[in-house]
Symmetry: C2
Subunit: 646 residues, 2 copies
Amino acid sequence: MPDEIDLALVCTPARLAPDVVRSCGKKGVKGALLLAGGFSEASEEGRILEEKTVAIAREYGVRLIGPNTNGLFSARLNCNAIAWFNIPRGPLALLGSSGNVILSILIEAQIHKYMGISTMLSVGNQCDIMFHEYLECLGTDAGTEVIILYIEGFKDARAFLSAARKVTPSKPIVMYLSGRSAEGKRAAKSHSGSLAGDYAVGSGALRQAGVVLVTQSDHMYPAAEALALVPPMRGRRVAVISEGGGVITVAAEALAARGLELAQLTPETQAKIHAIVPAASAISNPVDHGGGTDPRAEYYGSVAKAVLEDPNIDALMFVGFFGGYALRYGESVAATENAVCVELGEMMRKYGKPIMVQSHYAHFRTNALDILRRAGVPFQRHIEVAAQCLASIADYHESRRRMTTAAPAPAPVAAVSALIAKVRASGRFALLETEAREVLAASGVPVPESVLLRKPEEAAAAVKALGGGALALKVVSQDVLHKSDAGGVRLDVTGEQAVRDAAAGILHAVKTHTADARVDGVLAAPMAPRGVELIVGVARDPQYGQVIMFGLGGVFVEAIRDVVFRAVPVSRADAEEMLDEIKFKVMLDGMRGLPAVDKPAIVDLLVKISALAAAHPEIIEIDLNPVIAHGDGYTIADARMIIRQS
Amino acid sequence: MPDEIDLALVCTPARLAPDVVRSCGKKGVKGALLLAGGFSEASEEGRILEEKTVAIAREYGVRLIGPNTNGLFSARLNCNAIAWFNIPRGPLALLGSSGNVILSILIEAQIHKYMGISTMLSVGNQCDIMFHEYLECLGTDAGTEVIILYIEGFKDARAFLSAARKVTPSKPIVMYLSGRSAEGKRAAKSHSGSLAGDYAVGSGALRQAGVVLVTQSDHMYPAAEALALVPPMRGRRVAVISEGGGVITVAAEALAARGLELAQLTPETQAKIHAIVPAASAISNPVDHGGGTDPRAEYYGSVAKAVLEDPNIDALMFVGFFGGYALRYGESVAATENAVCVELGEMMRKYGKPIMVQSHYAHFRTNALDILRRAGVPFQRHIEVAAQCLASIADYHESRRRMTTAAPAPAPVAAVSALIAKVRASGRFALLETEAREVLAASGVPVPESVLLRKPEEAAAAVKALGGGALALKVVSQDVLHKSDAGGVRLDVTGEQAVRDAAAGILHAVKTHTADARVDGVLAAPMAPRGVELIVGVARDPQYGQVIMFGLGGVFVEAIRDVVFRAVPVSRADAEEMLDEIKFKVMLDGMRGLPAVDKPAIVDLLVKISALAAAHPEIIEIDLNPVIAHGDGYTIADARMIIRQS
């Protein structure tokens, strides 16, 4: 070929890929898109073939898309290398692990008619170019306003998180992430060879990076469309307007199920609404302006205005027949209904609050709904989908606000480095509890006072030093990992004699359990006051890297698994969100006579532990369990840390 | 009017209703439908007006529909008394608390085109005819096959449960019940004046009566349509077939989220599929017969046959492009695709297993999908909706199987009656723990042995009688309701001296706490072995009457609220379902060294407590908390009962 070639669309069977890519390289082709399957997703031979192809591409500087993809569409490049015609163009980019899911969303856009596609690509095996690189590219594409992602698994999740953090402040990312269930993980593995990863870890880290997650595939397109249209949502308070109840009740349930609030309208707003519709059935929130006998489309406009002016309201939702008044009641009401549709668009921009319309007539794309949509207001057929759109809008803008706070920059602590060096030198990888406490203290984390009894006879001094109250006693030994199982723990021991006996008992039990255990002594610390048992941990996730965990501790923790994750490092705002995200967060607010937890102190703990882990990545595991939270501060009742051998 | 009148459609304002109904009565009109609002839902005056209208109607024997309804449609009676034209006729009945929700479903039927309406009615204020009467009527209506119910609240929930139990064995009821959230409850109250009731109680009792509950309004119509079309589903094992992954992964997640299983196909089935499609990407389950390069619609038919023949599979789901092959690949594949559609209908009937098709092209109502639907196979646009349809089908047939087991008939126990009479005679309503234990024992419930110490000096005898192990000691006093708060409980007390001291301590503490408490003594019982703390209770729900509760007990119970309810009486099958329905049922299977719970024993306990409550409705509250469940049996560690004063 005489001209320069930007992209080669390689349609050959898999086995020919190396030769074709070499030819491309020799010609100076910049990129090649490999359609064929039969590579690493299929077999070990395929994996070897893929590696070979990549090696050749690297040799010649050819970038590869795929293999195992169904092509690429780019409006910006005017390039349609996918077997589909008449792709509607618009501001949505579709990127995913599956060509079929991407095409399904494309069909949605074709049905929908109002919002088209800027870029469309299924990444296939990501043998060269990976999700995060495509994402960075979409982040700078002027034609893309919102990005829809369908993800079965990452090859470099950490790089994706970085890319997402750069993109989400200016462009929403709406993502369906596989792996919520064992079945989904298995299917993803079988389909794209992806390891779906732990959903709880992934969803926490992605949300932290500003990604809007949806859990139904049919919510991707509607949420993205809404995000592309409406102004920012300042909080989660939604007003609902309808003519007639029932649908209002359903809307209230659907909003509540998605963490949105039906805030009370101010008395002033209620008075305004009463003046507009004296016969209204309800004027607080939701507003039911039914009650009269004739259809009055104009009420929607004037009531919407009153509601949008209310400072208690962050977004507005219509439910019911609006958008179909002309169809239902005849052409005589068409002019009024259409005028309200235009007004709604103007009001949305003027007041800077999202408006979402659920209309029973959405399927029919009535003239009124067409006008409404051209005025920039999204509409949906189903109440639950409309509610989900508002929830996604609220999630996105909450993320943007949260992301203005940065995590502290990692700053290694000399004392910690020294201690780790010492432990490494001794050939150990698990810190003794006394050492873990030193690391915590050096990181600015309050650690309860304690005394190490080298022998039971030191009980008297320990009791005196620790104030004479009830003590917890634990063996300190590098050879005893599960202290309780070895008889190495005694709780609630009071008085010299009892402490001496308990310490002796522990030492005896440990020696019985592990004959040659090297024992440093028995650590005595005051019993923590009663409180809420929490767990704080740091681990290295195979996909998302260093992550911090927060959740409920104690007996039920295994059954309940009420824990949330974030990528390290976390900001205060991230940590606050973690506290708010556990399922049974009501436990933090004082239950059954337990104190309301000192949340700022726990937030502080999370930020400090995250900073410690970020500055000292050689600590690969931290397990503070339980952290007993009080009304004022907390007690770290047990601390374990594991370091990586250098 | 010269002729007899069956139904008067009363369109007057509310205030004229009494006069109009009186006129109807004088003429011998059998029923009147009151459209107007402004009755009990609106105000106290309205309530009085409604009562007056009902009194007049009763006087003349006129039955009333409404008021505050938007009319009635009945295909059987050829009666359209609702302001809507061209209502498609078919086997679905729509009944609800809201005319608007009913009309929204009607619009769904108009869009859908394939399945219409037999009866349509919003019940309004149910001033005379109530939900259960309409339901009974629909139960005997030959034109109705499935009933869709939208319910904000019952006036007589107990009667509804009876009616539902009669209807559901032959006709599915698909219900959206309001009240899952505080917001939904408030909206329902404001809309229809309904008290939504406790959702957990209602959903448990309704499911027990065979009702299929959905929690999204947009699932009502699809689930009902599917239930009207497909054969029974014998279990929850679904096979998924597609060409190409991605959508398969989404389907796997959607099915798992709804408690459906992706069971393994037998090796024989896998061999059959391999023979049909040697290049298939996956042949176990899900089946991905993609992998070839050309569209092969015929694979759907032959693979479906192999899968339907598999004994491990209870239903089949297609996801992806099927139904749009002709649209996508051209008319050359139309004949094959259409033939497969016909075959699928035949196979569904032949193998007696539901088939559900999700097609990206559903919106376009392609020729293939039209043929498919006429062959009796339902299709949906969205994967999650299709999965929900299968879940509803599975729920319904599970209920039907369960309902073949009856609860035992109530049989009062003479000893219990006598004890209650004695307690009543003494003017008390709370049973002493000793009395509650007597009631349990008389009902055949194993009660741990115990000794009542009248004074601390009886400790020696008690310790001896109870085997010498650790004891739990509790005050027995009609004046001490909260024993722990009064210092009336000591646990884990071992040995004569300690028991004597503890008993004395209890008596002293109680006297200090409540000076004039009448104390019967201190009840001593052996400490229960370690186990899983459960709660079993009976209460009188204001809507659903006598209900039995089962769930997790212990410290976190308040935060977690992991409890389920059923109406009394329960069958063994009901009780088994209760154990299976709690969220953290994994706690019953052995966690953290706790034993796997003896489920048959707990089921037996639930059935016996239910039978006790049913036979002795004068016991209005039973609270067994905790019931400590062991690997073999259980220990009721605390029992409280309250009786109604006669």
